[in-house]
Every structure is written in C-alpha cells, then in structure tokens.
C-alpha cells in the first residue's frame, strides 16, 4: 500500500514529491547564492573603518539571527504583501488582496537569513588571510581588484568552505519553512499527501530521506571543493 502511495502512477504521489524535491533544490540554491550578496557586503562592512557601516552589519546579522526563521518568513510574506497592496491602492485605487510570488518571498527571506550566517563565515575567512599575502601583491603594483580576485578571494575561500558548507545545509533545511507560504517544495508536497491520504508518518519519512540525500550529496561536493582549494598546503603534499 505504501508503495502504491509513492508510485508515479494514478493514486501515487511520486511525481508530486519529485517536483517538490526539485523545487526545494531550486529554492535552496537560489537562496544560498542570493544570500552570499548581503553576506559578503556585511562581511566587508564589518571590516570597514566607518563605524556606521560596522553598526549596520551588526544590526543586520544580530536581528536576523535573533528572530526565528519562520517568523522572518512570515514578516516578509505579510510585510511585502501589505506594502505592495498599499502601493497598488495608492497608485491604482485597487483595494483587493494581492498574493505575492511565494518563490520570490521564499528566496528573499531565506536568502537574507542565509546571508546573516554567511557574513560571519566570510568575515572570518578574510581576516584569516595573512596580511603579508596582500602586501606582497601590493608591492608588485597589482591593482586592487586583481588582488581581491586572485589572491585574497582564493585564499579566503579555502578557509570559508567548511563554514559555507554549514550555512548551505542550514539554508537547505530552512527552505522547508517556505512551505507555510504555499510554495510546493518537498515539505509542502509531503504535507498535502499526508492530508489527503491520512498517512502523515509515511510521507514525512520520505521527505526526511530526501533531505538526507541532499545533505549527504552536497557534503560530498563540499568535501571535494575543500580538497581542491587546499592544494599547495603543507598537509596536501603528494
């Protein structure tokens, strides 16, 4: 019976779950990548000589990290729709309810959460690059962007990878919370299947296995990236 429920044929939820799994990957990758932007900006701001930039970075990371992820999503969901409705009402006089795009809200909110954690990882990684590595590049007359892209970034990435792996895993899991906005990712798909079939445990278990598959697979990718970026280190001697 369980196998029938999970099949791809009629009466089976296989295709619903598959589409949900793909949607989860899409949201997670987009959110994580999008989150690297505020993350990198906040990391740079926290190393800035300007106190207000440092304060801004601190407020961003502290606020986002101190509020439950689910609440951040709710705030964005209702905040954005209220704001858009207000704008539309003022501009066009239309006062009805406007549904905002769940994918966009999801990426925005989960991405900003992800960014708050990336910021700390990136900040630490940049700080870990010895000053002399950059000075040697400056002494050759290399331009600033060459130094950042070819010296600072590759060396910081090496240190950042384990931390970014953690942030990625958290982001992947956080996408499950977007299910509350109605986006049909794997969690929402399992929800629906559970509600219709009255077999919640089965479907949540399948969803859990899919998440484990994702975290296991991405951990392997990160491990490879770490080996690659660690080339040239003493321990990596052939």
């Amino acid at each position: 019976m369980t196998l029938t429920l999970l099949s791809f044929g009629p009466g089976g939820w296989g295709s619903t779950l598959l589409i949900g799994a793909l949607m989860t990957i899409a949201v997670a990758v987009t959110s994580f990548a999008f989150g690297l932007v505020p993350g990198a900006l906040a990391a740079m701001a926290s190393r800035s000589p300007h106190a207000w930039l440092r304060a801004l970075a601190l407020v961003y990371t502290t606020l986002v990290r101190g509020i439950p992820e689910l609440l951040v999503i709710y705030l964005f969901f209702f905040g954005t729709s209220s704001m858009i409705m207000a704008i539309v009402r003022l501009s066009f006089g239309y006062g009805g309810y406007i549904e905002v795009n769940a994918f966009a809200i999801g990426v925005l909110s989960v991405g900003l959460i992800s960014g708050a954690y990336s910021a700390e990882v990136i900040r630490g990684a940049i700080a870990s690059v010895p000053k002399g590595q950059v000075e040697a590049a400056m002494a050759l007359g290399l331009k600033r962007w060459v130094i950042v892209s070819r010296i600072l970034f590759p060396q910081a990435l090496r240190v950042a990878l384990p931390g970014l792996n953690n942030v990625w895993q958290t982001t992947l899991k956080d996408t499950s919370l977007i299910s509350v906005t109605g986006l049909a990712e794997i969690m929402r798909s399992a929800n629906m299947a559970a509600g219709v079939t009255h077999e919640p445990f089965t479907f949540y278990l399948v969803a859990a296995l899919i998440y484990l598959l994702f975290t296991w697979g991405s951990a392997r990718l990160f491990a490879r990236a770490e080996i690659f970026s660690g080339r040239g280190l003493k321990e990596a001697r052939p």
Binding site: P130, G132, Q133, E135, A136, A137, M138, A139, L140, G141, L142, K143, R144, V146, R150, I151, P154, Q155, R158, S229, R231, G232, L233, K234, A236, R237
Partner: protein, 293 residues
C-alpha cells in the same frame, strides 16, 4: 645554537669562495661611464616622519638611492629601519616629508585625487621590488604562478611570455625544476629565493629587502645571501634592512645606521667599520645590536 649558527653563516660569507669582494661604488662607477654624481637617483626620501599612535617611529629621515647603490640599513629593533623601507614603496604612508621616485614626486594619503594617487602608487610599486622577511609567497599558487602574477597583470605580458620570463628568473636564483612546486613544499631559503625571483621578474629599478634572512634557519642564510651578492655584483640597485653585518660590510656601497628613528651615521662600510664610526655605532657593532657579529 642560534648564535653559533649565525656566526657560522657570517664566517661562511667572509671566508668562503667569493668572487665579488669589491668596492661597490667603484664598480658602479666603472659600469656607468659618467661620474658617480651623475648617476640617476632612483629613490629620494626627504625628511620622512611616521607616527604609530603616540610613538614617533621615523623622525625626519632622508635617504637617497642612486642607480647601482647597495644600501644597507642597520640598527637595533625599534630603530625604524623596517618602517623606513616600507615607506619607500608606500606600504606605510609617511606622515610628513616627501618621496621622489626617479625625480617624480609621490603623493601621500589625502591627496586631492585619490584615484590618480592610487594609480601613481601602483606604478611606483611596479618599478620597485620588495622582498619580505616572511617571504610572503602566495601559497595557493605554484612557484611559477607566483612569478607570473606581476608580469601578467601589471606589465600585461601574455601567459606564455610571463612563464618564459618566470623560468628565466627561477634559473637565475638556482631553482630550475621547482616550477610546479607549491611554496609550502620548499625550504625557507628556497622560498626566499623564489621571492627574490618574483621581484626580479618585474625588472624593477630597485629592490627593497626587509630583513630577508631573519626568518631563516641559520644553515639556510648563506644561499639567500649568495643570490643577493650576485645581484649586487650585477649592479642591481638594492636597499637592504639586515642584521648580517659581515654581509653589509662586504657588499654594501653605503651603510645607514638608524637609531630612534633618525639616521645616526652613514657612509662607506670601510669607513664605518674602521675607526671612523661614532661611539654609538661602535657600541651597536660590538654586540649591543641583535645578531651583530
């Protein structure tokens, strides 16, 4: 152990087989058909001052490096010698004074045109090599890539041209065959020689050495000094902050003794190591300074 090794290295320098035991000034004059006074001035620091917080590290230092000069800057730690060197390619920004490079005035921080200033500083740096105490090789790049970075991205050479040039300079410091090694797999002496080749690959007008042998195990000092000795013999303009007194005496055309952020004495090593030195330099040379012979 440390003292023994140091003395051994110094002995090696003075008694070993050494084809280049010459008066630097005279040779420079021989190579350059003009008189010594006519030689081009590469770097001219005038009355530099530098504060670190409330501590005045440089207290009005002037220094002139002409083409072919080998200037050794000595002094105890805290005398400001590394800071002076780092000011000469603006890794530190002086708080007062002026700096000219081949006659061109270099602007410091706070100049009206920040963008123009940065371009000028980058141009200056590309023409002055720097060798650091801690080597500062990029450890995520191979030896060859370390040497190619400047020629490719500052001088605009193609990848192939930069690689050819890098190989040539690697051969010059005696490290052919290490092209694809990563810095972490080389000894300290080898790393410092790669760092020297990295500076040379930019064909700079002068090279600044910031205590190039201080981070090395005593038995590795010799190989680095040998390369520097060869550069001096070829007429390379060099400014060297060092504790290796025997090396400074033999190779430098001019010795600059810093004390408390001021030039306490300067002149030909022959004169200063002879009887003509002021008392405080004699104190320093006779063992008051660190690693003095």
């Amino acid at each position: 152990m440390v003292m023994d090794g140091c003395c051994l290295a110094a002995d090696d320098e003075t008694t070993g087989p050494d084809p280049v035991r010459i008066d630097r000034k005279a040779t420079a004059g021989d190579r350059d058909p003009g008189a010594a006074a006519d030689r081009e001035t590469i770097i001219e620091a005038d009355n530099l001052e530098k504060w670190f917080g409330a501590h005045k590290v440089l207290d009005g230092v002037s220094l002139e490096a002409n083409r072919g000069d080998v200037i050794a800057i000595v002094g105890s730690s805290g005398s400001g010698k590394s800071t002076l060197l780092r000011c000469m390619n603006l890794l530190e920004t002086p708080d007062a004074g002026s700096l000219r490079f081949r006659g061109e005035q270099i602007a410091f921080d706070g100049a009206p045109h920040e963008r123009a200033r940065r371009k000028q500083v980058e141009r200056l740096r590309s023409q002055v090599g720097m060798v650091f105490q801690a080597f500062n090789l990029w450890d995520h790049r191979t030896v060859l890539e370390n040497l190619m970075e400047g020629p490719r991205f500052v001088l605009g050479l193609s990848r192939r041209e930069a690689a050819d040039r890098a190989r040539a300079y690697l051969a010059k410091v005696g490290l052919s065959g290490k092209e694809n090694a990563y810095p972490a797999h080389l000894s300290g002496g080898q790393q410092q020689r790669v760092a020297i080749a990295r500076a040379l690959a930019m064909a700079p007008h002068a090279i600044l050495f910031d205590e190039p042998t201080s981070a090395l195990d005593p038995e590795l000092v010799g190989e680095v000094l040998r390369v520097m000795r060869q550069l001096a013999a070829e007429g390379t303009t060099m400014v060297i902050v060092t504790h290796e007194m025997a090396f400074a005496r033999d190779v430098a055309s001019r010795l600059v003794f810093l004390q408390g952020g001021r030039v306490a004495a300067q002149g030909a090593p022959r004169d200063l190591f002879g009887g003509g030195a002021p008392q405080r330099l004699r104190d320093f040379l006779s063992g008051g300074g660190e690693r003095a012979p």
